[in-house]
Amino acid sequence: MIVCVAVVGHQNNPLYIQSFTEADDALKLHHIVHCSLDVIDERVNNPKKSGPLLNETFLGLLYPTENYKVYGYLTNTKVKFILVTTDLDVKDADVRNFFRRFHAAYGDAVSNPFHVPGKKITSRTFAESVSTIVKAFGLSSAG
C-alpha cells in the first residue's frame, strides 16, 4: 500500500505531500520524504554510480527504512516525485507505471494557467487524480 506521495521542487521544498494512512505517522512520513532527498541528491550528483540509469527519470529504490520503502523519480525540470510504500515486495515495473501516471497528473496540474510555477500545488483535481492513481497501485500490486 502506498502510504505517502510527495512532489518536491527545485529548492527541495515540498510542493505537494499527501499521506494515505490511518495511523498517526504522517509526520514520520514527512521526515522520511525529507530524508530521501539526500539520496536523490547523492544519485544526481554522482551520476556514474547509477551507470546505465543515466538519463533515466526513475531513480529506483532510494532507501529502505524500518517498515517502508521509498522510491524516487526525477523529472526533466528537476522536480522530484517520492513514493513511500509499506509493501516490502514491490515490482519495479509497477512503481515505474505509477510514476508515469503521477507525472502525467502533475503535468496536467502545472499546466493550469492559474498555477504559478514553483508554488505549492493546491489543485483539488490533482489531489483527486493522485488518490485515484494511488488506489489503482494498491489494486494492481495486490492482484
Binding site: G9, Q11, N12, N13, P14, L15, I17, Q18, S19, T21, E22, A23, D24, D25, A26, L27, K28, H30, H31, H34, C35, L37, D38, V39, E42, N46, K48, K49, S50, G51, P52, L53, G60, L61, L62, Y63, P64, E66, V116, G118, K119, K120, T122
Partner: protein, 1185 residues
C-alpha cells in the same frame, strides 16, 4: 559489540602449554605471542599441575538425554585459556643426562604427562633445555627420551638459550613445531566433530547446532575461513528451524536462548564476511537475519526484550561495518555493481544501522515502560530476581543456589525470568543510550555531508534531551535543525521543531526565546487543509500544525506582551511575563526568520531631491500573523537622526509614551489606525523635507506593540526586497508594498539630497595643442556670478585619456622627471602679484598630476584667474579636470559646499622631427670592408671611413600646425667622446635663412665629419635644436612663454674603419662637345701592403676614349696610382662616362662608380655662366673638401 566476551569478538587463538623449566617460559611465550597469528601460552612451572588442568571432567551420567542448552557459555573461553592444543614438556639437559635418579624423575614426569594428555588427544612436544652449548647430551638418553615420550624425532627439540643466535633459532624451531602440532590438533578435533555432524550421530537438534559451531570454531583456529563460514551458516540455519519445534524450555526463555545463540552465530558470520571483504554478502546476510527474526516478537509481556535484541543487532552490525576497512573503499563500486540486488547506498553506511539501533531502542524503552507500569508491586519483584544469573548455556538464565560450597543452577519459570529481566532493564538509562546512538549516526551522516538524515537524527537527539529534561541542550539542537527545515521550506517539520523549542524556552523561562518561537510559529504558512492526518501526539508539544493552533499561539503572545497574562512555566518561580521591569525587545533583520512577523519596507517617491524641497516617503508594513495586530506606536529612524519621527495610533491615545528618550523636538505624526491585517500591507505616506545635501537613508522601524514590547525592524527597499522565504511557495495573494506598482519595483529606502545649483562660472582657456618640451599655459577664469565665494578650493587633475597612467615605470624609457610624461609644473595666479608673500601658502599642493589651490574670497561680480603651467615630456593626449568647491555662505562652518567641474582635453605634440643623413664626398669612394660583409647581416650602424671627410645632413621638420622659429641647430658631442675622436664642423656658420619654419617645412644644415678614431661604435653626439613658437602667430601669444625650447635628438653611433683603398674619379665639371678632357681614376693605397688592382673600362658610344681598356696594376703601399684617359664627347647632354670596373685582388672586392658619380653634362658649345659662377664655386669647394 563491547558487551560480547573477548573470545567471541576476536578470532580463536591456539593455546600451548609449557611445563617445567619455568625460567625459560617468558622468552618462549613472548616469542609465541609475537607470532602472526599469535599463540597463547599456558605456562605451568611444574608437572604436578598439569594433570589437574588436563583432566577431563566426567560426563554427566545421563549422556543420552537431550542437553539442557545449545552452546555452553564458557566453551570458547575454555579453548582459549584452559585446553591447550600442545603440551611441551621441558627438561633441562642436566637432568636428562644426569644421574639415574634424575633420569628416573624425568621418565616419571613424562609418563604422567602422557597419561594426562592422551585422552584429550593433546599433542606432546619434549624440549630439552641445553644451558650451554658446551654441554653435550647423552645420545642414548635422548633416544630413550624420545621413545618414552613416544614422539617423532622432530618433536624432540633442543632449546639453547645461552647464545643469542642459537636462541633465535631454537625459538623459531619451537614455533614451527607448535604451529604444526596445533593445526593438527584442531584439524583432528574438527574432523571428529564433523564426522558426528555428517553421520548425524547426535541425539538432539541442539547437539547438531553445537557440533556445527564447534567445527566452525576449530576451522577458525586453522584459519580455514571458508569452512568456518559454512558451518556457522549451517548452525544458524538449523537454529532457525528449531524455533517452532523446541519445547525444552518455557516459551519466553526458549526464544531468548535461540535469539542469543542466533546473535552469536550471526556475529561470527558477519565478522567473517566483512573481514573477507565481502561487504555485499555481509549486508545481504544482515538483511536476511533481520528479516527472519524481526517478526519473532515473542510473548507480549516480554516484547521489550525483542526490541532490545533488535537494537543490539543493528548496533553490532553498525560497529562491525564501521571497523571494517573494506567499507569505505569499495562502497561506490559496490553499489554500482549491484543495482539489481535492491541494496541501496545507505545500507553500506554504519550511520543507517546506528539510526535503526536507536530507533529500536526507543521502541524497547516504550514497551519496557508499559511492562513496568503493569507491574503491581515492583519492589516485591526486585527481591525475587536477585539470585537469578546467567547459567552455563548461552542465552539461559537460572536461579543460583548456594548449597554449602557448591553452586548449582535451578531452572526458573517464565514469570520469574520476566521479573528478572525487568529489574535488569530498569537499571539502564535508555535515553542516554539512545542519544549516544543517534549521535553516532548523526556524526556519521555529517561526515558524509548528508544533511537531512543527519538532521532527522539531530531532531531525535533533541527529543531525547527534551524527554530527560535537559531543555538547554534540547533547545540548542532544535534550533540548529530548525534552520535546515526553514531553509528548504518544510513547514510541518519546522513547526514540530519550533514547537519543541518553544516548549523548552517556556520551561526554561526564557521569555525572549519563547516569544520568538511563538511568533515564528504563528506566522508559518500552515493551512489546515493538508494536515488532515497528523495526529496530535506525534507533533510534540505544539500540537498539530493548523490555523486555529496558530491563532491560539498568537493570542497567547498578544496577551503575554500586553501584560495581561503571564504564561506559567513548569517552575512556579519562572513565570513568563513582560512587565516594566522585564521589557522585551525583538530585532528583525534582513535574514531573520521573523521577517514574516513584521516586514517593513520604506520607499522614497523620488530618487533625488533638491535641498529644501520636500518629498514623499511610504512606509509599508506586512505581517503574516493570523490575527489582526494593533500597533501602538511606530518610530522611524534615519541615518540622520534629526529626521526621525514617530507615528502614534489615534485609536490608542493613552499610549503616547516615548520609545526612545532623547530629543524633545521630535516630529510626531498621528495615524488613524495602525492595525496589521494578515497578508495586507499597511501603507503610511509622509512628507520629508530635506535640508542637507547628501544621502538620507531610512534605517529601521521600531514598532511598539504593548506597553513593554518593541520590535526593532530593519527597513528594506522594495526594489531589493526578497520575498518571505517560507511564504513564497504558498499560493496567496501578493500585493505591492506601495500603491504605485512602479514604485514597488524601483523604490529605494535611500534618497540623494542634491547640492545647490552653482552660480559661479569656471572657464578653461582653450589653447590648442601643446608641444613637447615647452611650458604650456592653460588659463583658468573664475567669475562669481550669483554667489560669494568663501573658502574656495580649486582641484586640478591630469588624467591620461587612454586610461593608462601618466607615469611610466619602464626602465627603457629614460626620463628626467621620474618617468612622468606630462607634469603640472605650477599654478601662476594673475591676482597674486600684490601679495606675493602669500603665494607659497596659496599654492597648497602641487604634485605631478594633481594640484590643489585655494581661491581668495570673491564677492559677487568679482573674477579671478590663474594659469596652469603644464609640461609634456612625451606626445600624449591628456584630460585636464578642474573642479571648484566653494561655500556660498562664509559664516557657517559646516556649510554645504557647492562644486563646479570643468574639463579640457589637450593634445601633446612633437614640435619637430629631426632626421639625419651621412654622405661621402662626391666621386670619392673608400673601400669599406664591413660594408661588403654586411650584405646579409642587419647592420644598423652607418660605416664611415677613418680620417676621411664625410658629410652629415641634419634636417628638422615642423610637424605642428603653428610656425616655429628655429634659433639654432648644432651638434653637441658627448662628454665621453672627446673632440679628438671625431671632428664635426658645421659646413657654414650662419643659418641659411631667417629660421622661420611654416608647418610642414624642413630646415636643413650640413656638417662635415672627420672620424679620427677607429671604432666600431663611435658616439656621434646629440643634435640640439633651439626653437620657439613664432611670435607672430596670433591668440596663443598670451599663454606661451617667451623662452626658447631646446629639443634634443641623439644621433646613432657609427662604425668607423680604415679604408684600405680609396678611389677618386676626377673629371671636369662639364664637357664641351668635341672638346677632349682627361678623366683620372686615382687609386690610393692606404695600407702597408702592395695592392694588386684589376681594372677595365667599357666602351661608350658617346665618347671617343684613349687609354688601356683593361689590365692589372700594382699600387705601392701608402701611395697613389693614377689611371688617366682622354675622352672626347661625341654628343651633348647628360652623358654616362665610360664604365670603370676596379677589382682589388687582395680583398676580392669590386668597385663600380654609381650612375650619379659617372655622369657628366656635355654642352654643345662653351657656356657663359656668369650668374651661377658663385654657387658653382661653392659646390666645387664642398666637393673638394
Amino acid at each position: 559489540m563491547e558487551e560480547y566476551p573477548e573470545e567471541l569478538r576476536t578470532p580463536p587463538v591456539a593455546l600451548i602449554s609449557l611445563v617445567g623449566c619455568s625460567d625459560h617460559h617468558p622468552a618462549i611465550s613472548g616469542h609465541l605471542h609475537s607470532l602472526q597469528p599469535p599463540m597463547n601460552v599456558l605456562a605451568l612451572p611444574d608437572f604436578s599441575k598439569i594433570q589437574a588442568v588436563l583432566t577431563k571432567k566426567a560426563k554427566e551420567p545421563g549422556a543420552g538425554d537431550p542437553p539442557s542448552g545449545i552452546l555452553k557459555r564458557d566453551w570458547l573461553l575454555k579453548h582459549r585459556t584452559r585446553v591447550p592444543a600442545v603440551v611441551a614438556a621441558m627438561f633441562s639437559s642436566a637432568h636428562v643426562s644426569g644421574d639415574p635418579a634424575q633420569w628416573l624423575q624425568v621418565c616419571t614426569e613424562l609418563e604422567n604427562l602422557k597419561a594426562a594428555a592422551r585422552p584429550r588427544n593433546i599433542k606432546l612436544v619434549v624440549i630439552v633445555v641445553q644451558s650451554s652449548s658446551a654441554d653435550d647430551i647423552n645420545e642414548d638418553r635422548m633416544i630413550a627420551l624420545r621413545k618414552r615420550a613416544d614422539v617423532d624425532s622432530k618433536y624432540l627439540v633442543i632449546y639453547t638459550p645461552s647464545d643469542a643466535s642459537e636462541l633465535k633459532q631454537s625459538l623459531n624451531r619451537l614455533a614451527n613445531v607448535f604451529v604444526e602440532l596445533a593445526n593438527t590438533y584442531y584439524r583432528d578435533e574438527g574432523r571428529r566433530m564433523k564426522t558426528r555432524v555428517e553421520k548425524k550421530s547426535f541425539s538432539s537438534i541442539e547437539l547438531n547446532i553445537r557440533y556445527c559451531f564447534k567445527v566452525a570454531v576449530y576451522a577458525e583456529f586453522r584459519r580455514d575461513w571458508v569452512e568456518a563460514l559454512r558451518f556457522y551458516e549451517e548452525a544458524y540455519r538449523i537454529l532457525r528451524e528449531m524455533i517452532g519445534t523446541s519445547t525444552r524450555l518455557p516459551p519466553i526463555q526458549r526464544l531468548v536462548e535461540i535469539k542469543h545463540v542466533a546473535e552469536q552465530l550471526h556475529f561470527k558470520v558477519s565478522t567473517l564476511l566483512l573481514h573477507g571483504g565481502k561487504i555485499i554478502e555481509a549486508v545481504t546476510w544482515f538483511r536476511q537475519h533481520n528479516a527472519s527474526y524481526k517478526r519473532l516478537v515473542g510473548a507480549p509481556e516480554a516484547i521489550y526484550l525483542h526490541w532490545e535484541w533488535m537494537s543490539r543487532q543493528f548496533l553490532v552490525f553498525a560497529e562491525l561495518l564501521e571497523t571494517s576497512s573494506a567499507t569505505t573503499q569499495t562502497i561506490s563500486s559496490v553499489t554500482a555493481d549491484n543495482p539489481d540486488r535492491g541494496l541501496t547506498e545507505w545500507e553500506f553506511r554504519p550511520a543507517y544501522y546506528f539510526q535503526l539501533a536507536a530507533h529500536y531502542l526507543k521502541k524497547k524503552r516504550s514497551s519496557l515502560d508499559i511492562a513496568l507500569s503493569m507491574l503491581v508491586n515492583a519492589n516485591e519483584i526486585d527481591g525475587g530476581a536477585e539470585s537469578v544469573a546467567p547459567s552455563t548455556f548461552v542465552g539461559q538464565f537460572a536461579r543460583l543456589l548456594e548449597q554449602g560450597e557448591a553452586l548449582s543452577f535451578q531452572p526458573i519459570d517464565d514469570e520469574e525470568y520476566i521479573h528478572y529481566a525487568l529489574t535488569e532493564g530498569k537499571r539502564f538509562q535508555d535515553s542516554y543510550e539512545i542519544i549516544a546512538l543517534f549521535n553516532r549516526s548523526y556524526e556519521s551522516y555529517s561526515n558524509l555531508r548528508v544533511q537531512r538524515m543527519g538532521s532527522t537524527c539531530g531532531l531525535e537527539i533533541a527529543k531525547e534531551y527534551f524527554l530527560v529534561g535537559d531543555f538547554t541542550t534540547a533547545k540548542q539542537f532544535f534550533d540548529n535543525f530548525a534552520h535546515l527545515y526553514r531553509q528548504e521550506g518544510w513547514v510541518i517539520l519546522l513547526w514540530e521543531a519550533l514547537g519543541y523549542s518553544r516548549e523548552c524556552s517556556k520551561k526554561m523561562g526564557a521569555v525572549k526565546n519563547f516569544v520568538e518561537s511563538s511568533l515564528e510559529m504563528a506566522s508559518l504558512p500552515v493551512s489546515s487543509d493538508y494536515i488532515q492526518s497528523l495526529g496530535f501526539k506525534e507533533c510534540g508539544p505544539a500540537g498539530p500544525p493548523s490555523l486555529p493552533e496558530r491563532e491560539s499561539i498568537h493570542k497567547e503572545i498578544l496577551e503575554l506582551v500586553s501584560g495581561e497574562l503571564g504564561v506559567r512555566s513548569l517552575e512556579e518561580t519562572n513565570d513568563l511575563n513582560v512587565t516594566e521591569g522585564n521589557p522585551l525587545h525583538l530585532e528583525i533583520d534582513l535574514v531573520s526568520p521573523l521577517r514574516s512577523v513584521l516586514l517593513a519596507s520604506v520607499a522614497f517617491h523620488e530618487q533625488t531631491v533638491k535641498p529644501g524641497a520636500s518629498t514623499l516617503m511610504t512606509l509599508s508594513l506586512l505581517s503574516q500573523l493570523p490575527l489582526t495586530t494593533e500597533i501602538d506606536q511606530l518610530e522611524v529612524q534615519f541615518n540622520q537622526s534629526e529626521y526621525n519621527f514617530t507615528i502614534t495610533n489615534a485609536e490608542r491615545p493613552h499610549s503616547t509614551s516615548k520609545i526612545t528618550s532623547g530629543t524633545q523636538n521630535h516630529r510626531v505624526e498621528t495615524a488613524a489606525s495602525l492595525s496589521l491585517v494578515t497578508n495586507k500591507w499597511l501603507r503610511l505616506t509622509y512628507e520629508i523635507k530635506s535640508e542637507q545635501s547628501g544621502k538620507l537613508e531610512c534605517i529601521s522601524v521600531i514598532a511598539k506593540l504593548g506597553p513593554h514590547f518593541t520590535i526593532f525592524c530593519r527597513a528594506e527597499s522594495p526594489a531589493s526586497m526578497d520575498g518571505l522565504p517560507l511564504w513564497k511557495f504558498e499560493d496567496r495573494v501578493e500585493t505591492y508594498p506601495t500603491k504605485d506598482p512602479a514604485l514597488a519595483i524601483t523604490g529605494q529606502k535611500v534618497i540623494q539630497v542634491e547640492e545647490a545649483e552653482p552660480l559661479v562660472d569656471l572657464n578653461l582657456g582653450d589653447s590648442g595643442a601643446a608641444l613637447v618640451g615647452e611650458s604650456f599655459m592653460v588659463p583658468v577664469n573664475i567669475a562669481a556670478r550669483g554667489h560669494d565665494i568663501y573658502s574656495g578650493e580649486l582641484k586640478i587633475n591630469l588624467v591620461d585619456v587612454k586610461g593608462g597612467g601618466l607615469f611610466s615605470t619602464r626602465e627603457t624609457e629614460p626620463s628626467t622627471m621620474d618617468g612622468h610624461h606630462v607634469e603640472l609644473l605650477s599654478v601662476a595666479g594673475a591676482e597674486w602679484e600684490d601679495e606675493s608673500q602669500k603665494e607659497a601658502e596659496k599654492i597648497n599642493n602641487i604634485q605631478q598630476s594633481f594640484g590643489l589651490v585655494s581661491i581668495p574670497f570673491l564677492k559677487i561680480g568679482d573674477t579671478w584667474s590663474c594659469k596652469l603651467e603644464i609640461k609634456w615630456y612625451r606626445p600624449k593626449p591628456v584630460m585636464l579636470y578642474v573642479s571648484l568647491g566653494y561655500s556660498p555662505h562664509g559664516n557657517e562652518l559646516n556649510a554645504q559646499k557647492i562644486h563646479v567641474h570643468k574639463s579640457l582635453q589637450i593634445e601633446g605634440q612633437n614640435p619637430v622631427l629631426i632626421s639625419h643623413r651621412f654622405l661621402l664626398p662626391f666621386r670619392r669612394d673608400p673601400l669599406l670592408l664591413s660594408k661588403m660583409k654586411a650584405v646579409s647581416e642587419n647592420n644598423q650602424f652607418t660605416s664611415l671611413p677613418l680620417n676621411e671627410t664625410s658629410i652629415l645632413i641634419l634636417s628638422a621638420k615642423n610637424c605642428t600646425e603653428v610656425p616655429l622659429q628655429v634659433e639654432s641647430l648644432y651638434v653637441e658631442v658627448d662628454e665621453d667622446c672627446v673632440a679628438t675622436s671625431c671632428l664635426i664642423k658645421p659646413g657654414s656658420e650662419d643659418l641659411a635663412h631667417s629660421g622661420l619654419l611654416v608647418p610642414g617645412e624642413e630646415f636643413r644644415k650640413v656638417f662635415m665629419v672627420i672620424p679620427q678614431v677607429n671604432s666600431s661604435t663611435l658616439g656621434m653626439g646629440t643634435v640640439c635644436l633651439r626653437w620657439r613658437r613664432h611670435p607672430g602667430s596670433g591668440v596663443q601669444v598670451s599663454c606661451i612663454q617667451e623662452d626658447s625650447v631646446l629639443t634634443r635628438h641623439k644621433l646613432p653611433d657609427v662604425n668607423v674603419e680604415l679604408a684600405p683603398l680609396t678611389i677618386t674619379l676626377e673629371c671636369p665639371p662639364y664637357g664641351i662637345l668635341g672638346d677632349p678632357f682627361t678623366y683620372f681614376i686615382k687609386i690610393h693605397n692606404q695600407t702597408q701592403l702592395l695592392q694588386e688592382v684589376k681594372f677595365s673600362l667599357a666602351d661608350s658610344q658617346s665618347f671617343v676614349l684613349s687609354g688601356s681598356h683593361n689590365g692589372t696594376t700594382y699600387v705601392l703601399p701608402k701611395s697613389e696610382h693614377i689611371l688617366s684617359y682622354k675622352l672626347v664627347p661625341l654628343v651633348s647632354g647628360p652623358l654616362q662616362l665610360p664604365k670603370v670596373t676596379l677589382t682589388s685582388v687582395r680583398y676580392s672586392a669590386g668597385y663600380q662608380p654609381s650612375v650619379n658619380a659617372s655622369t657628366i653634362f656635355v654642352y654643345p658649345s662653351k657656356p657663359h655662366l656668369k650668374v651661377a659662377d658663385q654657387r658653382e664655386g661653392r659646390t666645387e669647394s664642398v666637393a673638394a673638401k
